[in-house]
Amino acid sequence: MTININRRALLTGIGSLTVSVLLPGASARAATFGAASKPDLKPENLSSYITVNADGTVTAYWGKMDMGQGTDIGCIQMVAEELDVPVEKVTLVQGDTINSVNQGGASGSTGIQQGGVAIQSAAAEARYQLVQMAAQALNVPADQLSVVNGVISAKSDASKKISYGELIGGRHFDTQLEWNKQIGNALFVSGKGKIKPVAEHKVIGTSPPRRDIAGKVMGTVDYICDIKLPGMVHGRMVLPPIAGAVPLSFDKASVADIPGVEIVHENAFLAVTAPKEWDAIKASQKLKVTWSDVKPPFPDQKAIYDHIRKAPSIKRETLPDVGNIDEAFKGAAKIVEANYEWPFQSHASMAPGCAVVDYKPEGTSTLWTSTQKPHFGRDGVANSLGLPAEKVRGIYANGPGSYGRNDSGDAAAAAAVISKKLGKPVRLQFMRHEGTGWDPKGPASVHSARAAIDKDGKVIGWHFESKGFSRLDVDSNESQPAHTLAGQLLGVPLKFNPQFGTPEESYGFANRRKGWDVIAPLLERNSPLRTSHLRDPVGPQIAFASESFVDEVAFATGRDPVAFRLDYLTDPRDKAVVQAAAEKAGWQPHTAARKQMVGDIATGQGIAYSQRSGTRVAMVAEVEVNRTSGKVWVKKFTVAHDSGLVINPHLLTMCVEGNMVQGTSRALHEEVKFDNKSVTSVDWMTYPILDMTEAPATIDVVIVNRPDVKPSGAGEPSMRPMMAAIANAIYDATGVRMRQAPFTPERLKAGFV
């Protein structure tokens, strides 16, 4: 059997991608598979997801985004697994609207859970198609073929073989998939090829490394801020000192000495540009603007939680009641109640948002963006430019981190407005004070909880309510101008979406109610306190309250917090993570705050748990509280993480580590400050985050692998119970119950009195 040699010689000789298989043996014949040119980029085309290259390597095209946690490597593993090719032979292309369909970008921890599974399914179909081609080429029935490392051979005669590259390398699949007609996260495709059973996995469950690291560490890869185009100008926004004020006039002479400066003004949108970046910055600082006289829109920050409690509810939702909550409270021997408060928080991304837009009225315009949703970003820029989406190409470039709807989408929209006005490519970057002051915020909220306890100490009623600003004053993507700062400044009508959430857990209290109310934004338009999704939207605040309250009720009924959870949890996976975290951490059962002290340092343990879209996380925090300074150090976390089938254990562990540090920062430090005019926390001094001296010494991640359960998300779930775990540990250490976040020294010391 010499088919490989013949084919390779043929290909080498003509240097062409044409596939004409010359079969040895009884009947030689030519067969050509696939299409010479790539079929249109449509969700139902297999070619939209998988290409076999001339050298036999595989390229996968992904419409989600990895933001630095290695989700792309997980997808590569899923593709390699289904295609039976080594991981090294698979590359994944993401973040370019010209070659990937919209799978929603980074969103809701669905990278593996939805986006990965979809591309895995496409890869399974690619394998199926390749085996069918091989059956034809080798004249062997498909069910008598096997695949090893991208080579298909007859089970009965290993010399009868042909590689993927030889079958279709350099050409394109021309078959269709069943598409569920969904765009975004929910997009799913399937064909005749079925995803492999877990027992056959060789690649899933291993830990190949990320591929973006060396370029980042060596300083050789471009970031969004590094994109440069011929004729490009640098843009800076000019935003009002009082939120809601609009520029009535400006004095061109005030910036006349700055070379090449241009001013872009329409309605409340005001920006400056210059060919040199430093000049654009100077112009934005020097431009004299007369602002409209507006009433300062915000309440005193000290009154924000009162405002939330008193403001009318504009939308209320409840889960269906379980049992009869009113009867339960009427018949209670004891009622425990508590209220919790959570501040606005900022994305405070590592750098303020930046984007480059090159508007071309004829031909194709281009957006370079570090948004986590480049397809939606492209749609938004097309809307801003007044062009159909297919006339705009969106290209992702590395950015300063993104954990939700940060300000990168606002930078893209603003760059589009300016590029269109000036007819030039524009690179717009916000300044630090805008990145922290004017990004969409995580919403502030209040939470009230009460529990009914019978005479035997059993919990018979549970009632949990949240009330706050919506999680979505602007949408979680920037596909419509109404959801961008630039669009709002231009006067596009708003599309406010009042949404909040309820605790995700499986406590089986006999009678229970969970609900939420959303109140109106403080300022409808152009607000620096407009809200949108920040990593695990509303999850940390809800679980901070609900899981703190679980501890409060445990102690009120004389139970240890771990034992109490195990008493009432009904889901076996939930119980398992609680047990795993407690065991690994060396949980010390207690039924009251232990207040263990050595010198000034009080130490304690706290546990909390929650679900998130299928994932379960329980964690034990161990804290040291300095009774003199009021400072909290979370010395150690032990995290039990069950996200079903684990694709890449090492990268999962590192993803959880990042969550823990970022979440500790949110728990201990982060609170947007504002006065009645605007946001006043505008840099790293006024909006501090955790620094190296405060980082945990140990983050021990216990991965609970469940190969029998489909993979769920890991980007956000461990963020969720963390604040309660820390608050519960602070209580064990000091006897002080933190009911308002963040847990600053001032709040701790107020409790010590």
Binding site: I213, G219, T220, M350, E657, T693, A695
Partner: protein
């Protein structure tokens, strides 16, 4: 108002005509055309713009270009020798430290400078030396592993 300023960056001499009060960061990016020192805050609070001047980490976003004088500027991309990563870069690669990686200039340049002065720092010394840097992705524990790995290399 512009001034001819000579800079030595990663071993190469440059002469640029710029506003002498302009921060070094913009000279490196806009006038010399380098990419890796990045704007994070413009306030010397985060470290994303860090370069060395004569081996000392400085925040280029808050260093007037005129103040550099004859100082030799080294950037993250200039830290490697002949394409071979500096040992701290190798440790960051081996530990797969960065997530977004935007902040890396500060962490790598400051860690490398620390190890020059104190080749075997203890945990507290590492934490203190790196306390003025920001990482929003929360890779701090991986950074600790990498610096300790480099100290043992």
């Amino acid at each position: 108002m512009t001034k001819r300023i000579e800079l030595n960056v990663d071993g190469k001499a440059h002469a640029i005509d710029v506003d002498p009060d302009m921060p070094l960061l913009y000279a490196l990016r806009d006038d010399i055309g380098l990419r890796n020192p990045r704007f994070g805050c413009g306030l010397a609070q985060c470290g994303a713009c860090t370069v060395w001047i004569d081996g000392e980490p400085v925040r280029s976003c808050a260093t007037p270009v005129d103040s550099v004088g004859a100082g030799k500027v080294t950037t993250l991309a200039g830290l490697s020798k002949d394409g071979k990563p500096h040992k701290i870069q190798q440790a960051f690669i081996d530990e797969q430290v960065p997530q977004c990686g935007y902040c890396l200039n500060g962490w790598v340049m400051t860690s490398a400078a620390l190890l020059e002065k104190n080749p075997k720092p203890n945990d507290a010394q590492i934490r203190e030396a790196l306390s003025g840097l920001k990482c929003r992705c929360g890779t701090h524990v991986a950074i600790m592993r990498a610096v300790k790995r480099a100290a043992q290399a």
